[in-house]
Symmetry: C2
Subunit: 339 residues, 2 copies
DNA sequence: CTCATTTGGAAAGACGTTTTTGCACTTCCT
DNA sequence: AGGAAGTGCAAAAACGTCTTTCCAAATGAG
């Protein structure tokens, strides 16, 4: 079996194939002029020997670092802790996996410049997750010559490359669904964060209400975006003189809190209240009681797409600068149609 | 201001200092024989020029990748989604920051071998978060010659290097605190996961009960470790013929659910029920109503320590193989002393 | 004063790739 | 038949750093 202590290099492959290292390199990278037969033969020998090009050496000669940074915008700190959201974890893991698959390594960076020339780590490009309006980081990185892709658009400056859902369409789809299920007074529970997500959703909601000639009812929980915050906010909504008969919550944890609040005060879902929210890849919505209707945003797909887009940009392919990841409304018990 | 298109290299520094590149390298890395005066002068010029050694070139010559992997053990899939826990996010971010500070890049890897020779990305070492009992990944990596540090010990094989809290002592501290606050019947709400954390806590709890001559009461929520799961589990505990008058929840989300369950059924905290749980760096415990007493585990410190330990190992310093990160009990309203 | 030893620093090789250049040999055209 | 164009591959120069040698000058000892 003998796993050699030292990895097999291009020289060993060349020797085994009876050609020069040049030829091996050309064969493996589809460069140079080589008859197909030679390419095949060299490749066969290479993976028979288990050859994997040393990424460091390759990076050195092609003049890149092989690293891409992923930074989550600060959003002004504490009340909103990025680590509290499964969304980010899934996005990050998918982006990392995609990057590895394309020969890059993704490194998670704190928002306060661990990237950028001075002091930090050198990267070829960066993914910025949910930048706030006019996020200074985006500009700083761009000025340092680092290619940037954002997930979610940056409000105020749309020149960047981004990947995002079509939240306008998603929101409409949810509202239409709620209406078809019998809702007459739909409240939006969302956050005041200045990111394109909340911006789009609230705009779509207000436009939808205007077109449907109903009064919008927007509730922003205090205390962040936790279950407790949702519990409290739902409590207030349900105590209104004219309480909503449906709620669309823009963060899933708000919805879970809402569910508990309803349960606690004897409000039945879906009989008295329809409830819909957004979802990651989690199984939580179907395990909730009742199972929750969700607008699936596919954060993993967003992460994957962001990494791919960034790498395409770095490799000088000329990809479409914007990627829209499809959403999907999954109807479950929490919006079961009323008689 | 002229940011040069091309970074300043060791050659420019050498030229500016009027010495050879050798001398610059020696001065910057504390190698070779150089009078202190020369070292100082070269260093001064180097950072005046903003010189940063090209990590790729350095890695190539010293024969490392400069990458360390962080993988979170699968824990047997879905019910337990790692991305649901702020704990992991904080640990990871801190580990990444620490790694960057020491010249390494940390890459997040999926549990199914994106590391290891065949197929994946080459790393110098890996951090494995909360390995399950006899986690196959640990062995596989070790066999591939990759240095491994775990956070939390691996049950079944204690030969590895790890960083962990002293959960035995932490649990005792919490139980003692609850007892001093007047608790007479303390329930433990925990998970059946086979990781050292839950193992230690449950053992400490049972031993503590034995010594205090009280019957242990352990409740493992179904439906994972969410607020809803905690809500349901707490409901069951409180419906018992002899309900507990205090609960220690090993995951914070269980505690938040417990709080809502108590509120929903008119059980007052802390008057009727004392409640304590563990905490990350989040502000949630103090924002809860009532504010939650917590055992702070300092995941960020765990991550930082794990990265530092791994890097010390890689750099052939001979660090202590185990690091214990201190915990701290923070008493808040949820365990306010009974009259 | 001479020889051995230490000290300061330079030159050059190495790390493992990619890429450019160029050589020899065919094939094709006229 | 003679030159032009095309083909297959090798040699060698990078990439930017660290590290090993090695030489010259300075210092010390006898």
């Amino acid at each position: 079996m003998g796993t050699n202590r030292t990895r097999v290099g291009i020289k060993e492959v060349a020797a085994a194939a009876g050609v020069s290292v040049t030829t091996v390199s050309h064969a493996l990278n589809n460069k140079g002029r080589l008859p197909e037969a030679t390419r095949q033969r060299v490749r066969a020998i290479a993976d028979q020997l288990g050859y994997k090009a040393n990424a460091t050496a390759r990076n050195l000669v092609v003049g890149r670092t092989g690293l891409i940074g992923l930074v989550v915008s600060q959003h002004g700190g504490p009340p909103f802790a990025v680590t509290d959201f499964a969304y980010f974890g899934q996005l990050m893991l998918a982006a990392s996996t995609a990057a590895i698959g394309e020969g890059y390594a993704l490194v998670l960076a704190p928002a306060d410049g661990a990237l950028a020339p001075q002091g930090g780590i050198a990267v070829d490009g960066a993914i910025i997750v949910d930048p706030v309006r006019d996020d200074p980081l985006v500009g700083a990185l761009a000025r340092a010559g680092i290619t940037v892709v954002t997930t979610g658009r940056m409000l105020g400056d749309d020149r960047s490359c981004w990947v995002d859902n079509d939240h306008i369409a998603g929101t409409r789809a949810v509202l239409d669904h709620l209406q078809r299920s019998g809702a007459e007074r739909i409240a939006l529970m969302t956050s005041p964060l200045e990111i394109s997500y909340t911006f789009d959703v609230e705009r779509a909601y207000r436009e939808w209400c205007a077109r449907a000639r109903v009064e919008p009812l927007v509730k922003a929980p205090e205390l962040g975006l936790s279950e407790r915050a949702g519990y409290a906010a739902a409590g207030e909504l349900l105590s209104l003189p004219e309480p909503p008969d449906a709620i669309f919550a823009t963060y899933d944890r708000l919805a879970y809190g809402t569910l508990l609040a309803a349960e606690a005060r004897g409000v039945r879902v879906p009989e008295d209240l329809l409830l819909a929210t957004t979802a990651t890849e989690s199984q939580a919505p179907e395990q909730a009681r009742p199972a929750l209707t969700t607008l699936n945003l596919h954060p993993a797909e967003i992460g994957r797409a962001a990494a791919s887009l960034l790498i395409a940009l770095l490799d000088d392919e000329e990809p479409a600068r914007h990627v829209v990841v499809p959403h999907r409304v999954v109807a479950r018990s929490s919006t079961r149609r009323r008689r």
